[in-house]
Amino acid sequence: MVSTTLEASPPPAHYKWLKRALLGFGAVLFVVGSFGVYQRFAHGHLDANYGSIVPWGLWVAAYTFFIGLSAGAFLVSSLVYVFNVRRFERIGRLALFTSLVTLVLALFGISFDLGHMERAWNVLVHPNFYSPMAWIVWLYIVYFVILVVELWFLLRRDLIAGAAQPGRRAGLYRVLALGSRATSEASGARDRLVVRVLATIGVPVAVLFHGGVGTLFGVVAARPHWHSGLFPIMFLVSALVSGGALLIVVALIFQSGRKRNRDTVLTLGKVVLGLLLLDVLFQVSDILIAYRGGIPGEIAGLSVVTSGPYWWVFWIWQIGIGTLIPLLLLTLPATRRNPIAVAAAALLIVVGLFGMRLNIVVPGLAVEEIRGLTTAVASVRVQASYFPSLMEWLVTAWIIGLGLLLFGVGEKLLPVERQPMTERDALAEADTVIELEMRPERDQPEIQDVPV
């Protein structure tokens, strides 16, 4: 039986311009940011503002931000492909594609930060099993393979169907189908099994690598601001918050947008609200213990966060924009059932989380490890204050622009938004499910007679 691709209803006109605007914005960021990338390659790290006191800056924060988005989006997709939560099935592919794009952005971010990115493969050739960073890199490689293969199996039958249809994209689809021709229901069942297995492996991998990012900071006993057992957990929770929030924005704009995904947006909004509150709980707990504990190093780090030169990153960016306004939008009766308001809240959460990442990376470092260190020598590289240079901002803009372009173009070209609608799926679609519902184990009998 050949799967019939359900034609997605044409997106409402006002969302088309939003998509185009996003693409255009991405293109502008990409073009303007290219100058920063040129500077980075032409002059190495000369134009960067981090130094030997604050050795990590905007790019490391950006990297932790993007990798959090990726882990979060992937874990949301796993709700569909591992836990059969049908409510989110419509955005399953989008979630997976989002996590792939954001993973690429994270890897770009951290590559720019390396002094010798051409040697990054040393992590495989000369592994140090004691380094959290090494483990994270290995897990990224596994994760990348899982994402690509899972996405391919998810799209396989649609690619074949697309290759058979007339149009400019047929050639692209033929290439992407990698010679695969089977479109039978049995092959579809095999695809679903592969997707399920990969997604199931992916869940612990995502938990490990993102918990690992928290561990990377947490194990550094030299930096009291980072040295907390809560860090791996906080990173995971905030990853889920940011990933879920990004998917709300994506679901509203892409994939026929609000009309089709209204319910998904609202449900995801509730999930994100819960996670955001949990995230706040963890942060309050971490900050309170540190303040009341009164260890000078921890107080110093927190003072940088709350009353240092970049107090506004915490109070305005992270707390105001990223937490309080979204909490209001997600809880007030007037806005919480309005998908646009929910998506606006989600966007603010995503933006706010970037501020939170900055507040983890920089203040942990922007404290003299030994008093008098920064006044002992007069050097721009020996300063406790750090503000990213124009080149760092441009490179970050380039990465964000690249992300918007990759996502925009990918969403346009790839059959991301079309679900392969088998009859059974179409039937399932018909009865609208309100509650989170487990899909019955219906794939099992079909799998047994599939030649692998």
């Binding site: 002059h43 190495g44 790290h45 000369l46 960067a48 130094g51 030997s52 006191i53 050795p55 990590w56 930060d113 390396l114 002094g115 010798h116 990115m117 040697r119 990054a120 040393n122 992590v123 050739v125 000369h126 592994p127 140090n128 099993f129 004691y130 380094s131 959290p132 960073m133 090494a134 890199v137 990377l216 194990v219 550094v220 006993a221 030299a222 930096r223 942990g364 470092l365 003299e368 490890e369 030994i370 008093r371 008098g372 260190l373 002992a376 020598v377 050097s379 721009v380 590289r381 020996v382």
Partner: protein, 264 residues
């Protein structure tokens, strides 16, 4: 997958597994090693370190200059730094100066975090070094060092030795590698640190003070405040000083066991 591929893969997997087990064993042993006795099992011959007498330090910063001359370090890279005004509020009106090289800790936190094992503690003498050709410049070690003893080489140059000047072709003797500074080439883009002027050791791994072949900062110290030596040699001046005077190490609570002591 062909049979050969499979075998290759098993080999690589075996290597990794072996590596994981070996690392775990080494970590165990490292933790258990006694502090001041020669550990013959691990091939330890020396335990180089310093005893810095703050009462003798006048704050002339000649050690910083000598280090820069010896290792030809660029702007922003200081293998040793002299602090003052450390004690506040002051107990008396005498200024207190401290020179701070790398402490070459017995349990260095920087080594464990390096994802590529580019920085390591030498087995024979405990000197913590950086393999410039392996270091990827991630700077994780810089965040992990509690003493700010690590510096990133951004590629800056002093005007006098900027490209085109005859001085620019002068190689640095570091690690006996005699690298000439070149844009984009190591050690630019690497993390750098004090290595107790390793290039001045002889083949046996000993320094020769009579010949002037010992760390430049200690050699040049005008007040003889920096005592350099081998803690495993009970007759060495550093071992004697530790017996006679009360010495402190910075941030003992972190368990890093620095090999640089301060006499107050």
């Amino acid at each position: 997958m062909s049979e050969i591929d499979r075998r290759e893969m098993l080999k690589v997997l075996g290597k990794w597994l072996g590596g994981a087990i070996a690392t775990a064993v080494v970590i165990q042993m490292g933790g258990a090693a006694s502090v001041f006795a020669a550990d013959t099992a691990s091939g330890r011959k020396h335990r180089y370190g310093m005893v810095i007498d703050t009462r003798r330090c006048v704050g002339c910063r000649a050690c910083m200059v000598a280090c820069k001359q010896e290792n030809k370090t660029p702007p922003g890279v200081f293998y040793t730094v002299v602090f003052d005004q450390l004690i506040e509020p002051r107990i008396d009106d005498k200024p207190l100066f401290m020179t701070k090289p790398c402490f070459h800790c017995e349990d260095p936190p920087c080594v464990g975090v390096c994802p590529v094992s580019a920085t390591y503690k030498r087995e024979r003498d405990g000197v913590v070094v950086v393999d410039y050709d392996r270091c990827i410049g991630c700077r994780y070690c810089m965040t992990a060092c509690p003493y700010a003893a690590r510096w990133f080489d951004f590629g800056e140059n002093y005007p006098a030795v900027s490209e085109g000047t005859p001085y620019a072709a002068q190689p640095s003797p570091e690690y006996n590698q005699f690298r000439v500074r070149e844009e984009g080439k190591s050690p630019i883009g690497n993390v750098r640190k004090c290595h107790f002027c390793l290039h001045l050791q002889d083949e046996e791994g000993s320094y020769d003070k009579a010949q002037g072949r010992w760390p430049a900062c200690a050699k040049t110290c005008t007040g003889h405040a920096i005592h350099f030596g081998d803690f495993l040699d009970p007759n060495d001046s550093v071992s004697q000083l530790l017996q006679e005077r009360v010495a402190v190490r910075l941030k003992e609570e972190l368990g890093t066991e620095p090999n640089v002591f301060y006499l107050l």
